[in-house]
Symmetry: C2
Subunit: 107 residues, 2 copies
DNA sequence: GGGATGGGTGGATAATTGTCAAACAATCAC
DNA sequence: GTGATTGTTTGACAATTATCCACCCATCCC
């Protein structure tokens, strides 16, 4: 309920644009972003994300980059880590950016 | 007037989103983008771009990354290389993206 | 408790990248 | 032509990063 069950992430006001773009300037992480675009929470299973070719620790690394950039949030639920987009925080910090990115990525 | 006086760059249709984001995910290149946001042509002088601390070859390298990503175009004019934003091409390929990026970078 | 499951951690390694320096190339000014 | 100006290219080097592997750590289930 509180933040104690969330992995460390920057405050909304501390989300840095260049850091976000650096995080998204990678094909694997862009794939993850598109998976998260549905707004739902996703587990870290590489198979469920179209990343079967990558080792689970590699996927874990990419998820950490996204989270530390402020793009995603990770909630700890038992054995699972549930990752989702920080859509509200991103929209507040950089209005229109996420929509433009998702539209561009989907084209 | 033809393309012969322009340095190599991708066709508008070949501009790749992840490549663009990778190019902009660097503080120096984001600084360059903001300089180019006025739509004018700019020379490559590091001093005129707030990059006095960088060697001219380093700036040249960053400009190449931006150009090869499709973000900028470089026109050869005598000794000068005049760099400017590919605003129309970017707006056509990814509508709204450049505006959102520039708005975010200016905030 | 014991095993299985979902992920993270740390080390190793190879590839990429940011930076500078020195040399080069083309153009301009005289 | 001589020299100065404007950038690019190449090489070297350090830092970052993407990936895999082996191991660890919780948690869940029986």
């Amino acid at each position: 309920m509180t933040d104690t069950d969330r992995l460390p992430q920057p405050a909304a006001a501390d989300i840095d644009l260049v850091t976000v773009l650096h995080a998204l300037g990678d094909p694997v992480r862009m794939t993850l972003l598109l998976s998260y675009a549905d707004g739902a929470e996703h587990s870290c299973d590489p198979g469920g994300l179209g990343l079967e070719h990558l080792h689970k620790s590699t996927v874990s690394h990419h998820m950490r980059v996204l989270r530390e950039a402020g793009v995603t949030t990770t909630r700890v639920a038992g054995r699972n880590r549930l990752v989702s987009l920080r859509r509200t925080d991103l929209d507040t910090r950089y209005p229109g950016l996420l929509d433009a990115l998702l539209a561009a990525a989907s084209s």
